[in-house]
């Protein structure tokens, strides 16, 4: 039983079934991978989990409680945080302020007081965006903006972190650092659901992977099993690509 349970979720756009009876379980303390070809429904599934998209069927549970009909900001307060595939930073705020917005929301329902300025600095440091803390986010290159978004997501002190292609726009160094960061975070007990097309990162970071194709889960298993699965190779991995 995972911390986050996605139970037979379906999403329909007009005549198109973007997600079709998908079930995924995201346990705490490890990274769960979600991969699949373009247009498979991964981002849509993220939108369902965070409440930005109402599912046409199925349930989402957090810690056993049904949150399918909760409003998005409530889910955030319950501990679901995410980053976006197409950047959604607060462009006219600085990186630090981006993080502060999230921190201050958390402070409103946290019991103990704390110094948000200090935590913001720590978070930016942790994701590797400390140098750009006082720059406006819309003038940052994509990669740095992504890191700021990650710091902002962490600032809500989540139980579950949903990452939608976090490594796109990062360079190799930063991607490696991201892998390390993911390990640290899960060691602290966080549950991470990772959507990513960068196979080395996925294979290295995830303990368990689900493969989505045309809205359906076509395979599940450990990285090794997934890599060996012929249907996954056909639908997604291709031939030349394999994990390093």
């Amino acid at each position: 039983m995972g911390l986050l349970e996605i139970d037979e979720v379906s999403v329909q756009f007009g005549g198109l079934l973007a997600v079709d009876d998908a079930s995924i379980s995201v346990p705490e303390g490890c990274v769960t991978g979600l991969i699949g070809p373009n247009g498979a429904g991964k981002t849509t599934l993220f939108n369902v989990i965070t409440g930005l998209q109402a599912p046409s069927g199925g349930r989402v549970r957090l810690d056993g409680a049904d949150i399918t009909r909760r409003r998005p900001y409530r889910r955030a307060r319950l501990g679901i945080a995410r980053t976006f595939q197409r950047l959604e930073a607060f462009g006219s705020l600085t990186a630090r302020e981006n993080v502060l917005v999230a921190l201050e929301m958390r402070r409103r329902w946290a019991k103990s007081r704390y110094d948000s300025g200090k935590i913001a600095a720590e978070l930016l440091e942790r994701v590797g965006a400390a140098q750009v803390a006082d720059k406006r986010v819309d003038s940052l290159p994509t990669g740095s903006a992504r890191l700021v978004e990650l710091a902002r997501a962490l600032a809500t002190d989540p139980k579950v972190l949903l990452l939608d292609e976090p490594s796109s726009g990062l360079d190799e160094q930063e991607t490696d650092a991201l892998g390390v960061l993911l390990h640290e975070l899960t060691a602290d007990g966080l549950a991470v659901l990772l959507v990513e097309h960068d196979m080395p990162l996925v294979m290295e970071a995830c303990t368990h992977i689900s493969v989505l194709d045309f809205g359906r889960i076509i395979a599940e298993g450990t990285p090794a099993e997934i890599q060996a699965d012929p249907s996954v190779q056909r639908a997604y991995l291709g031939t030349a690509k394999s994990a390093s």
Binding site: N38, T44, L140, D171, E172, E174, G238
Partner: protein, 258 residues
Amino acid sequence: MTSMQAVPTPDATDDEVPILQLAAVRAGYGRIDVLHGIDLELRAGEVFALLGPNGAGKSTTLAVCSGQITPSTGGMFLCGRDVTGVAPDALARAGVCLIPEGRGIFPNLNVLENLRMATFTGHSFSQVLDLAFAQFPRLGERRKQTAGTLSGGEQQMLSMARALATEPAVLLIDELSMGLAPIIVEELYEHVRRIAASGLSILIVEQFAHEILGLADRAGIMLHGRLLHTGPPASIADELADAYLGAEHETPAAHPSQ
């Protein structure tokens, strides 16, 4: 009106006029420079890979090449003709095609209308459709969908479709692989290789070196707004690791390798 202008003779190694050349270009946003003197040449029919870490100025370089940013000093030449300050639409019609990073679609138009926009460079609509849908059957299934609701990867396909369908003379690609499934990336690289073989000149920007170096004729590393090394991919691969570490390469002068 634009007078024929002699190119400041580049390296003496070959006398062929490069199809695209940046000479000592400084450029940036507002009054703040991001590029500090870029000398870059793209020879006819070659694939040039521009590598470098986050924020090095790669996208800015492409913005200069496509005419979106006018260099504050220095010049840009197309087949030896001075095109510094020429508007991007004119450059596009002259055959320079940029696939921008991440925002290459019209979100409120549908797929067909997006592709219709690719006909400004002289191809007929049916030609564009044939080429685009042959390469990306997925788009064919989504003709009437509003582009903004396509998945991230589908948007990237739509953006790439223009490059493949309009057959430009110079193709500038910013982070081709971003957001695409490995199998698609593999196909795309295959396609890039094919069109490169047909004589088109390609300047391609990537963060990840491995696949692209296999495909490039030459490569360059950018760091802090300077082009540090250019040369054959093999020689670049060694330099690359150092470049990403950054610190050792604060040396201001560009040193093009011969």
